[in-house]
Amino acid sequence: MNDTATSEHIAEPWTEGAEPLARIYGEPMVQLPLDLYIPPDAMAVMLDAFEGPLDLLLYLIRKANVNVLDIPMAPLTVQYLTYVEAMRTHNLELAADYLVMAAMLIEIKSRMLLPKARVDDGGEVEDPRAELVRRLIEYEQMKLAAHRLDELPQAERDFDWVEVWVEKSLLQRLPEVCAADLKDAWGSLLRQARLHTHHMVTREELSVREHMGLILRRLRDTDGFIEFVAMFDTTLGAPVLVVHFLAMLELAREQLLEITQTEAFAPIYVRLANGRVEH
């Protein structure tokens, strides 16, 4: 980096004459801050590093250590255009975005050279740089936010989710049946087979049938004789005893039970027909 190179780049039309490049906090500035200068050879590398004109401008401003709220427009514009020019000479694909920004900078700079126009209502005049500053600040804010976001622990990059294996076949799902399903099934049986009345089952018969099952199950589990009276649980009340008794008679009629009495008034015994159960 040397003065010659620097003066080449500042010797641009808009720095003609003795005009200071800019006034920095009231101080005239005739020379570009050295920090703003980047050798053109490094350009190609540098450009890859920028996300666009705002990023490049922010870099130039931060590098020069100037206040973003009080940008020295002239040197900044010079430097920016130097970059854009360098892009051209290096045959880099020059994004339109960079050219749009160049036009904007030149416009701001020229507006700043004009005497301040008084506003009729006596309000403050808007600084020509205001919009650029707003955009630079917002962009810088998002740039920092992007960095913060990237610092957060991220799935796959910084941690993995836990997902313990579930062997679904271990879960045997069984069909659900409700009483209504059975009624429907019976209904369809009736339709198909045109069952006759002797196949009809009344509520009373049904409870007899339930007790038939109960008696058979009890005898099966006993595997031998049970005293007849022991088959009855008198605490269940007369209706149940009657049903139970009917069930016993029905089982005897169907020859499923063997009821024996060795002599009159001797205890009566009951067992499964054949006295044996095949499990």
Partner: protein, 197 residues
Amino acid sequence: MAELNTDSRPDRARSAPNNPGELKRILEAVLLAAPQPLSLAELRKVFADEIGLDVLRVLLDELRLEWAERPVELLQLASGWRFRTRAEFLPYLARLNPEKPPKYSRAVLETLAIIAYRQPVTRGDIEDIRGVTVATQIIRVLEERGWVDIVGHRDTPGRPALLATTKKFLDDLGLRSVTELPPLEMMNQTLELADAQ
């Protein structure tokens, strides 16, 4: 952008810790997150092959014991080691992804209805009513469900088994007794009305 996670990058290889507790913690993390069983060779790779197979086996066995009372278990399968959710918790998981419950075939339902309403019945009785042969498989489905069992044998040639419904059948259907099954005479009337139309 700054390298944010250089310390946690795999490239920046860290040595395996010496402390068995820490080794087990690493194994635990790796096995809990693994989408497939991990072989011993793969598990050694986790430690950049810095620990021996014998040490690894001991650590895995210890880990399996530590998880013995927990809701997921560490298993050694043909293709490697893997955590698996214990079967007892699957019903809870299943509630999250309700699939359409399977249904019994009409044959099964009709057989069950006949056993429920006409018990005790033999297979022959069922065939008489349904007018078709009852496959053994149908009875077995109901027996395996614990809804039907053999309560005796009819004293006729062949001594056919008598089938009846069980207490479990009543419990599962929310009934106290078979008398709580829908009454059939009412239904017959309904059917007759329906058929008359």
